[in-house]
């Protein structure tokens, strides 16, 4: 990790140097050096993570938690080391509360299915917000339908912020769980989850937080938040795809039935009855994505070395600069202008469809996301088909923002 170092004299992180850790950023797209502004969908991977996974397969691979031989033990050690790193990363009280899942979507499905099925009854309510990703809507809808429970939705204002007075009204004795995203993927809004958690807890209601967008940008401390469930994906924080974390308080997890059945999650099996393993294995049926877990551990180390404070500052600078420059373009409207915002800019060009803008940016080598961002109800709330979304990671720089602004100007000229 030699490059992710701080300049000792100024204690400033050298982000130009860090950018060089990401081999993909050296490639071209449509014959132009790539300007990658879609990290909110998935981040690029540094050499440190790629090497860790390569080394794992070359030197350590065997199935985990099973073999008596040395190699299997070493693989298990590497696997469990990642769990320890994650525990420290989010300051979980115990490693047992950090469950490896495929990603945020599976984390939410696990809780909706296991906790939801056990605790929801006809007439009960699950409380979410208008700005949820489909993956924090559909799993709850499914269990609500099954149980005869209802999904309640906290409205948002024009700036894309939850209306907390409405949240207060919707949080009732019928509410059995609150599930809200920490940061909106489509708007960048940072939600007041401390307030959400405190208010829900005051009524004895547990809270699940979808942390997919927050984990690459903010320091998350699950104990300080006192959150009941917190889930995130590795691939949005420089780790590999297909691996993520569900943190849950042990008392809640222990009381929940298993999600998937299979190997690893059992204690004893007979054809008459199976007893289940303890945490975290109870929720980790089957051979896990071991290389993915090793890669996730490396990503945690990499991110920690740079430091969340420096990352947040750098990204905030890009957000501020990008917002100011884009606003200068005639007919450009930013969708989502929350006071507390992460480095995501969703926008529309007057009279132009997001698909057209995205197509022209693509030709210029600029990767942005267009469409509804898996938040169709949110787009319906704003009465728009979708947006163009540029999202910045710590490996982006001002030059990327300048190229985006130039590209959008060119798109406006061509489409206008």
């Amino acid at each position: 990790m030699a490059t992710a170092t701080k300049n000792k004299r100024t204690n400033k992180v050298d982000f130009d140097k860090i950018r060089k850790d990401f081999p993909l950023l050296k490639r071209e797209m449509n014959g132009k050096p790539i300007v990658f502004l879609d990290s909110a969908a998935s981040s690029q991977k540094p050499n440190y993570v790629l090497r860790a996974m390569d080394q794992y397969y070359k030197k350590l691979h065997a199935n985990v938690h099973r073999g008596v031989y040395q190699l299997s033990q070493e693989a298990t050690d590497a696997f469990e080391k990642s769990r320890r790193l994650v525990k420290e990363f989010i300051n979980a009280p115990s490693e047992k509360e950090c469950i490896f899942v495929r990603g945020t979507t599976e984390g939410i499905n696990l809780v909706a299915s296991s906790y939801g099925r056990k605790n929801l009854q006809a007439g009960d309510e699950v409380l979410i917000s208008t700005m949820e990703h489909h993956s924090n809507i559909v799993p709850w809808q499914m269990v609500c339908e099954e149980k005869g429970a209802h999904l309640k939705v906290v409205p948002i204002n024009e700036d894309g912020e939850m209306i907390m007075s409405e949240f207060d009204k919707l949080l009732t004795d019928k509410t059995k769980i609150v599930s809200i995203n920490h940061i909106s993927n489509a708007l960048g809004t940072i939600n007041p989850i401390r307030e959400v958690i405190a208010k829900a807890h005051a009524k004895g209601i547990p809270v699940m937080i979808d942390g997919a967008q927050a984990i690459p940008h903010l320091k998350v401390d699950v104990q300080e938040l006192d959150v009941d469930f917190y889930t995130f994906s590795g691939h949005k924080m420089c780790g590999p795809t297909g691996i993520g974390i569900l943190y849950g308080k042990a008392a809640l997890l222990n009381a929940m039935p298993p999600y998937h059945g299979g190997g690893e999650m059992i204690e004893t099996v007979t054809f008459e009855k199976t007893t289940y393993n303890t945490l975290p294995h109870k929720f980790e049926a089957g051979t896990p994505d071991i290389a993915g877990v090793v890669g996730l551990g490396a990503a945690v180390e990499y991110m920690q070395k740079i430091g969340h404070e420096a990352i947040a500052q750098h990204e905030h600078d890009l957000l501020k600069y990008g917002t100011a420059e884009l606003k200068k373009i005639d007919g450009l409207r930013i969708v989502g202008e929350a006071k507390e915002k992460a480095s995501v800019i969703s926008f529309l060009l007057e009279g132009s469809h997001p698909y057209d803008v995205g197509t022209i940016l693509d030709k210029l080598g600029i990767a942005v996301r267009t469409g509804h961002h898996c938040t169709q109800p949110l787009m319906a709330r704003f009465g728009i088909p979708g947006t163009v979304r540029a999202s910045f990671a710590f490996y982006n720089n001002k030059e990327d923002v300048d190229k985006l602004v130039e590209g959008v100007k060119r798109a406006a000229r061509m489409l206008g």
Partner: protein, 136 residues
């Protein structure tokens, strides 16, 4: 002109463009000038949903010949629709059903007809050919 004669004509026209900008400016112009679909056909029954853009398609038949009108909410999609309509509209249903639309690849717009693009165009071409089959 037959379907293939029109396709060859379009390929020839596109050969004059020096770069992607000129090509896309032309497609955008085509999109702007596409004769509008009768508003009564811009309904759920004629809608082809894409994740990125939406397409409305209507087919009318006159003595085994199919006439297409279409629209999209995205202008580049609409420009490509204009080309597809130029190639397939007014052709015998049988020929529409069996058409091989090679011009899209030849003029470098294949990416827009990729299923992963999800702009409604792939489903639209499929739908056009189905009309051909149904009306033949």
């Amino acid at each position: 002109m037959t379907i293939n004669e029109i396709q060859d004509e379009i390929i020839e026209e596109f050969a004059f463009f020096d770069d992607w900008m000129e090509k896309y400016e032309y497609i955008i112009d085509l999109g702007k000038s596409l004769p509008l679909i009768d508003p009564k056909y811009k309904d759920e029954a004629h809608l082809i949903k894409g994740c990125q853009s939406q397409v409305w398609l209507h087919a009318a038949n006159e003595e085994k010949q199919v006439d297409f009108t279409a629209d999209s909410d995205a202008i580049i999609t609409k420009g490509i629709i204009a080309l597809l309509v130029r190639v397939l509209s007014g052709q015998p249903a049988e020929a529409v059903a069996h058409s091989d639309l090679y011009f899209i690849d030849k003029i470098g717009l294949k990416e827009h007809l990729s299923p992963t693009r999800s702009n409604g165009l792939v489903s639209m071409v499929k739908q056009m050919k189905m009309y051909g089959v149904a009306l033949a």
